[in-house]
Amino acid sequence: MSELRAAPDGPEPLAGWRWWTGLAIGSAVGLFGLAGLAVDAAKTMPGVWLKWLIGLLLVHDFLLAPMVHLTGRRLRDRAPESWRWPLQLGLITSGVLVLASVPVLVGVGRRTQPGNASVLPGNYPLTLAVVLTVVWLAVLALGTWGMPRRRR
């Protein structure tokens, strides 16, 4: 198995009218956005904006992605074949649910408008736990009884 398996960073040289046209138009659009951000600096705070942008990249590349990578490796090495896909399904779904629920779990919004009970009205830790339970019951069922595509 090759080390970098078909990693799609194409060997083709970047040339030709499509590349240069795309580069010209894309750069113009991107610079328009950057200019807007700079002109609006009092509201957009480009320094803070850049910290968030770079910060999110770093968190993804050097925290989230390695964690997912190591989990995936462990899954491939240790999990029995029939459990691999159910576990992958459960881990991906749970991870995404937890990440996307961080704002409602932290619940800062309740403090933003203390008099507004319609903002974040749920008991999110509880409902997230219920949803995750349902997901993992499905994982358990798929792992135990198999799934339609397991045997070819």
Binding site: L57, H60, V96, V106, T112, S118, G122
Partner: protein, 373 residues
């Protein structure tokens, strides 16, 4: 040097399929976002219609829920190309260096759009910068970077979608399908547990949504309550009047009783209209009040005039501009009642605007004046 990557689910085709899905989701977000921006800050050439009633509800719902759906798709796509981070040498010439440098605004910007969007609908402004302006300009930056990225990846995209690689590797094919299905399941569960804040049939499932249909005073969510808006103390002022003025022949000043007696007469009207928030949630309700059109006629406003409504609230969203189509729509109301009861203070007591196909932030509450322009 770096870690070794062996998953057969990674392939040019995996990346291409996820890229296409992501392109569609971000494309919908861009178009619906620009549309919402145009509606709220209309240039001279743009006139947003008042019909169909549900249109803004749908475009803005699509904006938010395509953004939510993009979270797992973006993460999956990044997973599929993650080994490239460890390629050596990192660049192979000037053009390749430009292309790789473009990944920083593309990826950083895309993550920023999704993260700030998710935080914004959860009312968490933990970054300091103005959300709307920054989200707007970042969207242009990401769009530009995406065009450059597309220009670079078009040959690979075509090759991968033509399926030249898929047939060669059936084990990889199965793994790829499983990975894509898992990503799809994640999207599905995420949408099922949030989209019910706009899609009424799914409302009971919206257990992870920052808003729920039916939850709020008079069974309707509130974007900003009277206390937070700084108007709570002024709502019971017996001296409150609604002034109808500006470019009119007979300026009118109305007490709450004046409005109530008009509601009981031929100017009175009830309509089922949605509140459609820019944050994606929406809910229909029954509103009753005085037709704006009739009040404008009483004051002698010229036909085809735009109208500005002003709230007792000061600062953001305290007034809204209604174009002629909205001002003259037979369902545009100065509403006094919601679901057959007087407006709750948080819904805009004593009187608020409710117009068809109008963003929630422009359905101004706690009105004090109507000015014909």
């Amino acid at each position: 040097m770096g870690p070794t990557f062996t998953s057969p689910a990674r392939s040019e085709r995996t990346t291409a399929l996820l890229g296409v899905a992501l392109g569609v989701l971000f494309g919908v977000c861009l178009l619906t976002g620009l549309l919402s921006h145009l509606i709220q800050q209309p240039p001279g050439w743009f006139a947003w219609p008042s019909r169909p009633v549900w249109l803004y509800r749908w475009t803005q719902g699509l904006h938010v829920f395509c953004g939510i759906a993009a979270v797992p798709v973006l993460l999956a796509k990044l997973w599929s190309v993650y080994p490239n981070l460890y390629r050596w040498p990192p660049v192979r010439g000037v053009a390749h260096a430009i292309e790789r440098a473009g990944i920083v605004p593309l990826l950083g910007g895309a993550l920023l759009l999704l993260v700030t969007g998710l935080m914004n609908i959860g009312y968490w402004y933990g970054w300091g910068f103005d959300f709307i302006r920054t989200h707007y300009w970042t969207a242009w930056i990401v769009t530009g970077a995406l065009l450059v990225h597309l220009a670079a990846k078009l040959p690979a995209l075509r090759r991968a979608l033509a399926g030249q690689h898929a047939a060669a590797d059936s084990a990889g094919d199965l793994e790829r399908r499983r990975f894509l299905v898992a990503t799809g399941v994640a999207v599905g569960v995420l949408l099922l547990t949030t989209a019910g804040s706009a899609l009424t049939p799914l409302r009971r499932l919206a257990v992870l949504s920052p808003r729920r249909q039916g939850v709020g005073p008079q069974g309707l969510p509130v974007n900003k309550d009277a206390r937070s808006a700084g108007v709570a103390a002024r709502l019971d002022d017996p001296g409150w009047r609604l002034a109808v003025g500006g470019r009119v022949a007979n300026p009118v000043t109305l007490t709450l009783d004046d409005l109530r007696s008009r509601m009981a007469g031929p100017m009175g009207h009830a309509a089922r209209l949605p509140i459609a928030c820019v944050e994606g949630w929406s809910q229909e309700a029954r509103w009753r009040g005085v037709r704006l059109r009739d009040l404008l006629e009483e004051a002698g406003a010229p036909a085809g005039a735009s109208v500005r409504v002003q709230s007792l609230q000061r600062g953001g969203y305290s007034s809204a501009l209604l174009n002629p189509a909205h001002a003259r729509d037979p369902d545009t109301l100065l509403a006094l009642e919601l679901n057959s009861a007087p407006l709750h203070p948080d819904h805009g007591y004593p009187v608020r605007l409710i117009a068809p196909n109008n963003p929630g932030v422009m359905q101004t509450k706690w009105l004090e004046s109507v000015t014909v322009l």
